[in-house]
Structure formats: C-alpha cells, structure tokens
C-alpha cells in the first residue's frame, strides 16, 4: 500500500495544481494575517473559507484523480496486488498531498507572524486539523462517487452536487425546518442533523474551540449546552472520524466487486 501511496503522492506533488492550491493558502494566510494584524480574527476568517473550500477542492481532486488514473489503475490491477491496497493507496496519496498543501500553505505565514509566541496556537492547530479532516472526508466521498459511476460527466456532476448540498443546501433546509417546526422542541433534531453534515460539524467544532458563542448559532448553542465545550469537541471529533471511516469502508467494499 505504501508503494502505491508513494507514487500517487509523487505524481500529485508534481502536478501544478498542488502548487496552485499551496500558493493560494500561502497568499490567503499572509494577506489575512498582515492586514488584520490579529491572529484570532484571521483564524475566524480562515475558518469560514476552509470549511467551504477544502471540501470543494477535495471533491474535485478526488474525482479528477480517480478518472484520470483509470488506465493506470488497470495496469496496477494486473500486478500481484490486492484491490484494497491499490485503492486505499491512491486515496491516501490524494488526501495526504492535499492536506500537506493546506498545512504548509497556512503554516508558513502563521509561523512567520510569530504564532509560536501567541496563545492562539491551539486554535490554529484545531483549524488545520479540521481542514485535514474535511479533506480526508471529501476525497473519500469523491472516490465513492467515482467508483459508482463509470461516466465521468455524471460522476463529476454528482460530486459537485454532493458538495453543494452539504455546503449550502443542507443549511438552508435545516433553517427552513427550524422555522417550520418552531413550536416543537428541536434540540435533539438539530443535534442529530448536525452530525449528518461534516461541514456543519467542523464549523461548530472550531467555534467551540474559539469559544465565540455569538457566532455559534442555534445548533452550536444547543451543542454547547448539551455537551459542554470539551465533551462537545470529543464528540464532534469522533463523529468526524466516523465520516472518514465509513466512506473508506465503502471504497473497500465497492472496489472488491467492481469490474475494470
């Protein structure tokens, strides 16, 4: 598996898109920090961007990589390798290289700004961890969609729809349902609804960490009241991990039964 991972990783690390992604975060991080002159404000702005952007990039890269490497996958399938080795190797190659672009791209400006002396370091770390989690989740979801759709255009379409749904539409539906059902106690409902959307979950996780109750919104407030800050973070991290584990299990399951 590590051999496949290594080569997928090299392949991606040399593609210009990894650098564009890296430079984007580098630029974004620097501009926010040096214009804002305030680490915690920069972290909040970055959160809003990361929570939407990393899923989008993960989805697009995941689908693109899978379809682009189809023939190469066939070459690998003719080698004495298990299917799980091939697909998990490729998945990790994509997810790790994207996460690295994020970590290094944001890490450099923050370190340059003197993050290590600041008390914000843990907030920054949780931001990076959440970004990496979202990358791993959405690359896995994208691989799932690509594995289930032979047709590239369809696969791409579904993947973008999935992102749009989780990043935008889900919140809209959530709000509408809260307004429509406002006579009823909605704590449990909103808690559970948050668990089913990794983007919402990540947002709450970071806001809990930053301890900005004004920005938490309804779900976040319920979340904090229900679980408390520390327990809430443990819960949301565990659910995020499940969001990584289940799609990976489905990759394993699907790839075993697929014809190439």
């Amino acid at each position: 598996m590590f051999k496949i991972l290594k080569y997928s990783f090299y392949d991606l690390m040399r593609s210009s898109w990894s650098y564009v992604y890296f430079l984007f975060y580098l630029g974004l991080g620097s501009v926010l920090l040096f214009l804002n002159n305030d680490v915690s404000k920069a972290v909040i702005t970055l959160m809003n961007i990361i929570v939407v952007l990393t899923p989008l990039i993960g989805t697009i890269f995941g689908v693109m990589y899978y379809y682009n490497s189809r023939e190469f996958t066939e070459l690998l399938l003719a080698q004495p390798l298990k299917r799980s080795t091939i697909f998990i190797g490729q998945y990790l190659g994509v997810a790790i290289s994207l996460s690295l672009s994020l970590v290094i791209g944001l890490g450099i400006p923050f370190l340059a700004y003197g993050l290590l002396q600041s008390s914000e370091i843990f907030n920054f770390l949780s931001l990076i961890i959440v970004g990496a989690f979202l990358t791993f989740i959405f690359v896995a979801l994208a691989f799932n969609i690509a594995l289930s759709n032979e047709n590239k255009i369809k696969g791409f379409g579904y993947a973008i729809l999935m992102w749009l749904f989780l990043a935008v539409i889900y919140d809209g539906l959530f709000l509408i349902s809260l307004v429509m059902l406002q006579e009823y106690p909605l704590d449990k409902f909103s808690l559970i609804a948050t668990m089913f959307n990794p983007i919402d979950l990540s947002r709450i996780l970071i806001l809990l960490k930053l301890d900005i109750s004004a920005l938490l919104g309804y779900t976040g407030a319920v979340f904090q009241k229900f679980f408390g800050t520390n327990f809430g973070m443990v819960i949301s991290f565990s659910v995020l991990s499940l969001w990584v584990v289940f799609p990976i299990l489905r990759i394993l399951f699907k790839s075993k039964r697929k014809d190439f």
Binding site: S8, Y10, L12, A78, P80, L81, D259, F260
Partner: protein, 239 residues
C-alpha cells in the same frame, strides 16, 4: 495451463459470457501462441480480464496450473499483461514508472534489454505525459515483457507501433514462445494473427465457437486464408 469452466458474466442486462468452457494447455497443443478472436462485443476482452481478475465473473471457475484464481491476487506475479490502451500517470518519468513496476513485483527484470531494443534511452527522463502514443506503447511493451512469467496476455499489442517496433515485437513474442511460455493474443489484424498464432480460439456470442489450429479453421470453412475463414463463419452464423 488454463482451465475455464462454465463462465458467466453479465454487464447490466447484457450477457457477455454465457457458460464459456475453455482449456488451454500448451503441452497437448501444437505450440504456445493462442489467438483469441471474435467479432466486436463477443467477449474477448471480458474473457482475458476475467483470467486476470479485473472482471469478476457472475458464475464459473477459472484455474491456472490447477489452482483456482478467483478472488486471489498472488497468482498475477506469474502473468504478464499488455493492456489495450497505455496511459500512465503523466507526472512520472519513464524511469520512475519502470522502477515502480519493478518495485511491485518481487522478481528479476530485464528492463535494460528492452530499453536498448526499442531505443527508449533518450526518453527515460521524460515525463510520461509528454510522450507520443507509439512511444507510450513501447513503454507498455517493455513493462509487459521485462518479467519472466509463464503466461503472457497481449490485448491488441500492435496498436500505434511503427514498422520497426512491430518487427521487434514479433521477434520478442517468438523468443518468448521458444522459452516455452504460453501466450494469449487478441487482435483484429488477421495477417498478424496468421503469422504468429499456433492455435485459434474463436469466440461468438459468449461461447467458444471454434478452437483449433489455423489449418483446421481453414479446412472447416474451405477457405485459403484466415480473413476469409473468419468472414465465412460470421456470415454463416448471420444467415
């Protein structure tokens, strides 16, 4: 030796293989090169990919050297496969790709021999994405033949090759045959098949329609060359 029993495969509603039985045994046959022929959509590639484990059959059994290969992966260490379309990660160089494939198979490889033969030396440090179709096919052939394996499977090996490389390919195939290898080839170029193959396996409608020597198929259809013999089978079936 390959033994296939009662193989079924459906893609959606289309039944491609319908109870295919086939035994390929180089010891009891005339020689080692078997051509798998058939019209488009007859199941040639599906059959080959089932043997490689890339397509998972709905039903049936495939045995190589007496051992079942379904759901296994180690047996592929002893198979060299040349896929129809060669497409590699575009950001790796030729050298890195060769190293990687060598890395994945724990056995000695004769890559230098083929690099010299196909004059690939100047391309070794180039990225695969920048190579022409013919050069990619040469790399593909190199990756296929650099290992010493009992079974060699070639899916349309002549695609995109210039005449010199085609001659080289034929030489390689003959040399491998003389080493006692079993070679399966699919091709639509009948002159190539006629020149190379010892036996023909003709697929029609997901089953083996004919299996035997070149002479036998010509005799059966009363034709003088393979192209017409195949055409005769197909027109007879359609009437």
């Amino acid at each position: 030796m390959i033994e296939i029993k009662n193989l079924y495969k459906k893609f959606g509603k289309v039944e491609v293989l319908k109870g295919l039985d086939l035994t390929i045994n180089p010891n009891t046959s005339e020689g080692g090169i078997f051509a798998v022929l058939g019209p488009n959509g007859s199941g040639k590639t599906t059959l080959i990919k089932s043997i490689l484990g890339m397509v998972i059959p709905n039903n049936g059994e495939i045995e190589i050297q007496g051992k079942s290969v379904l759901k296994k992966h180690q047996y592929r260490n002893n198979i060299n496969y040349l896929p129809q379309i060669a497409n590699f990660p575009s950001n790796l160089s030729v050298n890195e790709l060769i190293k990687m494939v060598k890395n994945l198979r724990p056995k000695p490889a004769a890559d230098q021999e083929f690099i010299d033969l196909f004059r690939l030396e100047p391309f070794l440090d180039k990225k695969l994405g920048n190579l022409s179709g013919g050069t990619k096919q040469k790399v593909n052939i190199l990756l296929t033949f650099m290992f010493d394996s009992e079974l060699i499977i070639l899916d349309e090996p002549t695609t995109g090759l210039d005449p010199i490389s085609l001659l080289n390919l034929k030489k390689i195939i003959v040399a491998e045959k003389e080493k006692g290898k079993m070679i399966l080839i699919t091709s639509h170029i009948m002159s190539f098949v006629e020149e190379m193959a010892d036996e023909i396996v003709f697929l029609l409608d997901g089953k083996i329609y004919f299996k035997g020597t070149l002479a036998a198929i010509k005799e059966q259809t009363k034709q003088t060359d393979l192209e017409h013999a195949i055409a005769a089978i197909l027109t007879k079936e359609n009437v």
